[in-house]
């Protein structure tokens, strides 16, 4: 993985941002520690100097300056390792006592570089000094070695620099590691997507199964791909169907037109030919319309038009349309439909579904057959059963009847495009209706179970 790609990732940039934020907060923390610790120590130092000056002046009260000088000598002798330095000058600037080399005494707080007895022979370092003017015009200077305070300050600054460096290194390393991990997962998503784009719709985006955000993304994308695959398969199916079921009648039509043209037909023959050709054309268009309708339904773009509707009334209309047809064939079409069965769906499509099923029953059963349509409130949802006592469908073939153009051997002679039941299947799927085909002993029983969404209205 090239480094530049790693550094360009959003996770790396995010890490850098966090590292910067973290660095700033560490800086603030250290600044607070520095100011409070070093400030406290500096105040302690100053207080020590103040109290030494007070103590010296108080102790020398009765003796004046000479007493002060001897006191300083004493202290220096007592504490050879002390970091305290002294200087006593008279009003003329002559040194009376002390070990501080300083030409002209100054009043107030100041720093100077030098050595205390505690650090004899070492490098000169900072000494904190306070000078006061004595009542007789002389000067007293007391200083304290500030090297400890400076060391502490240095330790704080150094530890801050070290931890800052460690933070930056860790942030960079962590960011790169994290980015590499994310890049790897994004890479696998991208590779799978490329394969899918290239046409392999059976490809799926791998997940780690950890249920993390990448798995969620993979799941969502996989659902999308699965949907696209279904649609593409549907499309492929439609084009296959077009090739299969439209080419045959179209070539038949063409042959007939050609054959007529080759002969020397009379005007009457021409008329008959054109009439028959238009009839053929209409049949082809019907098949075409049915296929488009199935594709439209399978694309599931119609759910938006769903509304609550009275299934009982819808069934009544369908039965009304087909009753005379049954009577014509001496078939008996009876119904037991409970009133006010409410379902959610598309009125037009459900009408077509019911019409197709009733029509199928009428078409594939002989004269004197009984066809019964029942509708009732099942377990929480409406149920419609259409049963006949005709030849039925062999158990082995029941699954296949919803495929496009599938026709039972026995029904080849009866009219129909072979699309009726696949249209039924598509409409049922769109509405979430379960279809069960069973043996009516004898005959076929088609049971439609509506989804349990809308309860029966009053």
């Amino acid at each position: 993985m090239p480094l530049t790609r790693l550094l360009r990732t959003s996770s790396f940039r995010l890490t850098l941002l966090y590292a910067a934020l973290f660095g700033v907060s560490v800086l603030v923390l250290f600044a607070v520690i520095y100011v409070t610790t070093a400030g406290y120590m500096a105040r302690q130092l100053d207080r020590g100097i103040d109290s030494e000056i007070t103590a010296l002046q108080e102790a020398a009260q009765p003796g004046g300056t000479p007493r002060l000088a001897s006191l300083i000598e004493e202290r220096q002798a007592e504490t050879s390792q002390s970091g305290t330095v002294y200087l006593l000058q008279d009003s003329e600037g002559r040194k009376l006592a002390g070990d501080l080399r300083f030409r002209r005494a100054t009043i107030g707080w100041f720093d100077l570089r030098g050595r205390s007895r505690a650090s004899e022979g070492g490098d000169p370092h900072r000494i904190r000094v306070r000078g006061v003017k004595l009542t007789d015009g002389g000067y007293l200077l007391v200083g304290q070695d500030a090297s400890q305070l400076d060391e502490v300050r240095e330790i704080i600054v150094r530890s801050f620099l070290w931890s800052a460096a460690a933070t930056v290194v860790l942030a960079l390393a962590g960011g790169m590691l994290m980015s590499a991990g994310i890049l790897r997962r994004v890479g696998s998503v991208a590779r799978a997507s490329q394969a899918i784009t290239a046409g392999d719709l059976s490809q799926r985006i791998p997940g780690r199964g950890a249920g993390d955000e990448f798995d969620q993304l993979a799941d969502a994308l996989n659902t999308m791909v699965a949907r696209i695959e279904t649609l593409m398969l549907g499309l492929k199916q439609v084009s296959n169907d077009v090739a299969h079921d439209l080419r045959t009648p179209l070539s038949r039509l063409r042959q007939r037109l050609e054959a007529t043209l080759r002969g020397a037909p009379s005007v009457e023959e021409y008329r008959a030919l054109v009439g028959r050709s238009i009839g053929d054309m209409d049949e082809i268009l019907q098949t075409f319309t049915a296929m488009l309708r199935i594709a439209e339904i399978e694309a599931a773009s119609r759910q938006a038009a769903f509304a609550e509707l009275n299934l009982s009334e819808l069934l009544a209309t369908v039965l009304e349309v087909y009753e005379p047809l049954a009577e014509e064939k001496s078939q008996v079409l009876t119904s037991r439909v409970k009133p006010r069965l409410m379902v959610r769906g598309d009125r037009e499509l459900l009408t077509q579904l019911m019409a197709n099923l009733v029509q199928n029953a009428l078409r594939h059963t002989p004269a004197q057959s009984r066809i019964t349509v029942e509708a009732r409130q099942g377990e929480g949802a409406a149920e419609v059963a259409i049963a006949d006592d005709g030849p039925g469908i062999p158990a082995a073939e029941r699954d296949k009847v919803f495929q496009r153009f599938y026709r039972l051997e026995a029904s080849r002679s009866t009219p129909g495009s072979g699309l009726g039941l696949s249209l039924v299947g598509a409409i049922a799927q769109l509405h979430g209706i379960m279809i069960e085909l069973s043996d009516n002993a004898p005959g076929l029983r088609v049971l439609l179970r509506f989804p349990r969404a809308v309860a029966a209205a009053g």
Binding site: I278, L285, Q286, T289, L292, R293, E296, S301, R302, A305, T317, E320, V321, Y322, E323, P324, L325, E328, D346, R347, E348, L349, T351, Q352, A355, Q359, L362, R363, P415, G416, S417
Partner: protein, 225 residues
């Protein structure tokens, strides 16, 4: 009838124009939506025939604009789009009827006649008389030559549609759509069977037939010549 035909396909336009002129209509043709809109606004027409797919503008937009301008002329959509959504959108935009290409010319003629000769105050009528048949819309009863005829509700509805369009040719699809709300082709002789049932009650034994079959097209309710 004076008809404005807005159709971008020249061949279809010429064919329809010629056919409708032969039927006795006066046809103005527009190839683009803009021309169509201009014509529809500048001259009184009895009917607009609008192709849904026009270059530059959708037929829907044109009909919306026409309706927006307060023109209440009936509109018949011609379209290659057969989906339910498209039809619903067409009718919602202000179309009165919707015919999917390709169609039989006779189907177009029948629908044009049904749209154009719509009686203005049909809902106010209480009784319609055709020849010796009398349809009482309020009482939903039928008499022929003074004799009361008992009809089932489904037979009455079919008869009412035929009588309301008396003298016009109505096609199978028009009956399926308007009498039973079937917007698909059931591919069976449903309509024929219903008509023959109705005939056996309305025409049998009365000497003359009122329900005429128009071969290859549909039916026409009128007194036999």
């Amino acid at each position: 009838m004076k008809i404005l035909l807005i159709e971008d396909d020249v061949e279809t336009g010429e064919y329809l124009g010629r056919g409708l002129t032969e039927e006795g209509h006066v046809i103005d043709r527009a190839v683009t939506g803009r021309d169509g809109l201009f014509l529809a606004g500048s001259e009184p027409y009895d009917l607009l025939i609008v192709d849904r797919m026009l270059p530059g503008s959708d037929g829907l937009a044109i009909v919306k604009a026409v309706r927006g301008a307060g023109i209440e002329t009936p509109v018949l959509f011609l379209t290659t789009r057969s989906s339910i959504e498209d039809r619903v959108a067409g009718l919602e935009a202000g179309g009165d009827d919707y015919l999917v290409k390709p169609f039989a010319f006779a189907e177009l003629v029948a629908r044009i006649n049904a749209l154009g000769r719509r009686p203005r105050n049909a809902s106010l009528e209480k009784v319609i008389r055709v020849a010796d048949l009398e349809l009482d819309l309020a009482g939903r009863s039928v008499r022929r030559a003074g004799k009361r005829i008992e009809l089932q509700p489904r037979e009455y509805r079919l008869l009412e549609y035929l009588v309301r369009h008396a003298g016009q040719v109505v096609t199978r699809t028009m009956l399926l759509e308007h009498v039973w709300d079937f917007h698909f082709d059931p591919q069976t002789s449903v309509v024929e069977v219903h008509i023959s049932r109705l005939r056996s009650k309305i025409d049998r034994g009365f000497g003359s037939e009122l329900i005429q079959t128009v071969r290859g097209v549909g039916y026409c309710f009128r007194a036999a010549d």
